[in-house]
Symmetry: C2
Subunit: 628 residues, 2 copies
């Protein structure tokens, strides 16, 4: 069959309680508060190319680098997030803010099409001299993603025109032809933006440029070394020491281990998987699959968080997954959602959708507070109470990454090809798709992710032959389905149930995905998780938080034979908590070391979804709970 | 009773197998190999004040600081270690090497008595301008300790004369009098060196200077800030940010929490405890006791290691005791031995001796390889096989710190006052002390630390009345003692058994300190040790190492009900291993996360003393073993 393609966010309406709340919060609180922060931090002012350039807001590191070089990307991501949210409900004030930004970008763009507010304002003579560090193409990529999303939502293509002029300029500068730079960005991003452009406009030149950047990566002699020498720098004087940091240590098809900066890795692999599908590139697909397996078998947190180390914001050794010091940058989990979605569309294997779902509901969603105005950059799986959410960050990449993901989640729900409609996520949608040649209204309603009872209505304008694919999540042990009250045999292919039939108006599918509390064990090489379990219910990973206990959660022990009970709770407007009779250390002082562990006292353990932690004040938190 | 004083190393001969081996190794292999390294690294050349100054061997940090500023201290510590070892057996070659160094120091010393080879060679105009960072008094302290030890062993006082001239100069520069600097060293050290000088020579001026430095510490306005401004620097531009780093954030008597750089803390507290005893200073003693309790209740590793963090080489939050990333610098455990010994001599409370013993046999001893020529700087309590011992270090402080401790261990065994002789450690000694007014030959023989059967012979030249104090270690559950075959009632006072009687030639005391394998549990706030136990036998903390197992030790689980057996082993010329029937993950590949933990298979767990790990090639290691 033809590969399925995701149904774009603009064509899927979210109707369920879970995502409606998140989307409403992002639209009403996150997007406006982020605009206020972009203003306050003078990021929006920087688009006006103030002369003389004002002093840096964010000091240079010892190595001379200021994260201020990627302010353009923050603007692009904000436009992108806003555009997705506007598809949920249009908002004139936000649209006016976007248009004002586009005015500035139009004015800033150089006559030759070049557009980068850092370079245009501060060092116009240095364009394209430090692709390794300075994010020039990355910024272009994020502005392009913003332009594409805004065009998708509104049909307005002024920003897209600006970016297409910039792309013409970029094409004039980069490529294998004599006289052009054989370079690519230290931070992959533009590649997947170009592919989005291709998907929306069919511009094959965009696809070709993405392909060029991916294929050129890691070629010898190394572009970043040559570029450093060209600007009179020592290539060895590189803070991150190795080109593994940017996944340019080898040509991409020779890469077998997930290394370096986690977000860069995920963005690159996303583009690779996209290209593998769009160009039927078996070698690229194979490289993606090898890297995926490496990530899944040795390097991903149970939350879908990625990258244990702050020093490279990325990967270290296999099984190095510390909890309290986990970096697990929000952006990396967001980017894993991207990659998983692209892998899923290579061959509709539900294991990719399982990971997409895990990263989305846990490692990514945790990055945004319940009220939509504060954030986590790093996402530890244990806290002694020290980390708190923050309202902004010198490097605010995660703020707009999580908002753009949440605002675009409609684009992850379903996929289609001419004779197939596939459900990946549940939670309430409403869409009309032409499938089996017939315009068909489809609704799905459920209390997912808290409940697995799912009702789907299929209403084609006239009877239509097509296959409905329903993802049966890997965590589900006893799924069942009915069509119009008739049981369907649960024969799964790669985690999907296929129902092929002639659909008629009024057809009703009910899918039961029973959720039960699960204990997850980690590979013993993850030494810090020995004797501990993480808790799961449906797609949600749980944690215990001090707010629900009268002491630091590190005092609690979960008996191996204790029954965990899923209990509807009024917390956060209705969630499911997991409770169990547990044991706890008492409150009497105890020494640091002792030959006899004190007797434990009875206690009740209450776990909440991990993504909701740190919304009720400061306190300790634990994902991996010691058993007793 | 009069406070007991340690019997100096020169007066105690080590005769047991355990310390004879270590001392022989230090004398024959460590001291010569360290001299070779000091030569190779041009540290000894630097004493000749080469002109022009050669390029730096150790590059400056970004903040302009080179650890090369404390090369003098390495020389001082090497002389000190060598001097202790020479007390075990004189060696003409080593003595000639020391004399050659003294020649250089004599030639280097300025006419006014000043002696610091970094400043004299490289920046003579900047003496005493950066006490916070540049270790000038610290270097003086280590050279002084070397001079004192060499004088104690050999009676030669040429180096001591040099250092006393330098001290006269220091006294002319520092003090409360008008025109003098009201400063003290960023790295405490000279204080305890001055006290050693006082103990050996009775020089009260030395004691007064030590007292001055301790009392002045942390006074307002802060000396380091004033000093920074005086040299045109911004006091706030301090890499370590807070004066807690050097325990000068508050006057010492107001300090209640153990903070900052671990070695600095221990050296300071050592001097404080020394002064509290020598000057009967109750407020200083009280401060020491408060700090001790803080350390013991919240911050010490089970090995006696100190300081979890590499970034400040020191302390962080209470209960922050990670295993794999433990810094636990060898020097800090060595320095804890110093402090514990001083605390012990305040009031002969065995809990101090217990900690002294733990730090000595575990956290300190681990720093020196079995063959005596390689080292650990950081001492993690878990390894995935990555860390290995090294033969030298840019900052070689730990190398000579562990050798000087091992070589001086005779000085930690016993203490005396006119009518008391106290045993703190066992392991085989031979000494003659005047006690009860009578010259008395005393021998102790045992296979300690592997066996607790201890035989002591007391042979006074004529019958003598005195009290024999025998430390009953805190780990011992069923100690028993006999005098000449007659059982002694085990009435303990602060962990010591007092036997007061008229001793006669031929008296024999036998002390039985039965050792059994113990499981140690940690306070639950040390989250990473939840569900785990450390193993102990006698004073030794054990670990499991890959060499004794056919897989990474992280695969092993120790059943809670498994019997641990202490077994004599031929390893390392005879040690005791601990073995237990255990469980292990198998060798089939397993996923990173799973709902059902795989069945474990039977295995045998073999633990060796922690101090011996990493002497049989690279491999994984674990102190805190998960139970099942």
């Amino acid at each position: 069959m033809a590969r399925l393609a995701p149904v774009p966010f603009v064509d899927v309406r979210l109707t369920g309680a879970f995502w409606s709340e998140r989307l409403g919060t992002v639209l009403e609180r996150t997007i406006p508060s982020q605009h206020a922060k972009l203003t306050e931090m003078t990021i929006l002012d920087s688009l006006k190319l103030p002369a003389p350039p004002p002093p840096l807001v964010i000091k240079r590191h010892a190595n001379g680098f200021s994260v201020q070089v990627f302010w353009d990307s923050d603007v692009g991501k904000w436009i992108e997030a806003a555009a997705y949210a506007l598809a949920h409900r249009r908002d004139a004030a936000i649209e006016a803010q976007i248009e004002a930004i586009i005015d500035d970008l139009a004015a800033a763009q150089a006559p030759d099409g070049y557009l980068n507010c850092w370079y245009l304002c501060r060092e116009p003579e240095n364009r394209w001299t430090n692709l390794r560090d300075n994010h020039e193409l990355y910024n272009a990529g994020h502005l392009l993603e913003g332009a594409v999303a805004y065009f998708q939502t509104t049909g307005r293509r002024r920003l897209l025109d600006i970016m297409e002029r910039f792309l013409d300029h970029i094409r004039s500068q980069f490529g294998p032809e004599p006289g052009k730079r054989r370079g690519y960005c230290g931070h992959p991003e533009i590649e997947l933006a170009l592919i989005k452009l291709y998907r929306v406009t069919g511009d094959t030149k965009a696809l070709a440029l993405a392909s060029y950047f991916v294929d050129e990566r890691g070629a010898s002699p190394h572009y970043f070394d040559a570029e450093a020498m060209a600007r009179g720098a020592d290539p060895a004087a590189f803070t991150q020491k190795t080109h593994e940091y940017s996944q340019s240590h080898l040509p991409v098809r020779q890469q077998t281990k997930v290394v370096g900066h986690a977000v860069r890795a995920m963005y690159l692999y996303t583009a690779m998987a996209d290209l593998a599908a769009l160009q039927d590139d078996a070698s690229l697909q194979s490289a993606c699959e090898t890297l995926w397996d490496d990530l899944m078998l040795t390097k991903v947190y149970v939350t879908g968080g990625l990258g244990p180390s702050a020093s490279n914001e990325g990967f270290t050794r296999d099984y190095d997954l510390p909890n309290a010091t986990a970096y697990a940058e929000t952006c990396a989990a967001v980017a894993l959602v991207f990659w998983a979605q692209r892998m899923l569309h290579l061959d509709m294997d539900g294991r990719y959708a399982d990971m997409l779902e895990t990263a989305l509901f846990n490692g990514a969603l945790v990055g945004l507070s319940r009220d939509g105005t504060s954030y986590f950059y790093a996402n530890p799986l244990e806290s002694d109470g020290t980390p708190t959410r923050w309202h902004w960050h010198d490097c605010p990449c995660c703020t707009m990454n999580v908002s753009r993901l949440v605002a675009s989640v409609a684009g992850y729900m379903i996929s289609a090809n001419p004779d197939t409609l596939a459900f990946h996520l549940y939670g309430g949608i409403d869409t009309t798709q032409t499938v089996g040649g017939v315009s068909t209204k489809i609704t799905e309603s459920s209390r997912y992710p808290f409940d697995g009872d799912i009702q789907i209505s299929i209403d084609p304008a006239q009877p239509a032959d097509f296959t409905l694919l329903l993802r049966i999540p890997g965590w589900c042990r006893a799924a069942a389905a009915q069509v119009n009250g008739q049981r369907v045999a649960m024969t799964l292919h790669n985690g999907y149930l296929a129902i092929k039939r002639r659909w008629q108006a009024g057809d009703r599918v009910s899918l039961s995905l029973p959720m039960q509390p699960e204990r997850i064990h980690a590979h013993p090489a993850v030494s810090n998780n020995a004797g501990r379990v993480a808790l799961q219910h449906g797609p949600l990973i749980y944690c215990i938080e001090e707010s629900d206990h009268d002491r630091a959660v590190q005092m609690l022990r979960l008996p191996r034979n204790a029954t965990l009970t899923a209990t509807p709770s009024p917390l956060f407007d209705g969630i499911v908590t997991l409770t169990a009779p547990a044991r706890s250390y008492g409150t009497d002082p105890i020494p640091l070391y002792m030959y006899n562990d004190p007797d434990l006292i009875p206690a009740t353990l209450t776990a909440i979804p991990y993504y909701l932690w740190s919304n009720r004040g400061q306190g300790s938190m634990l994902v991996w709970i010691p058993e007793t």
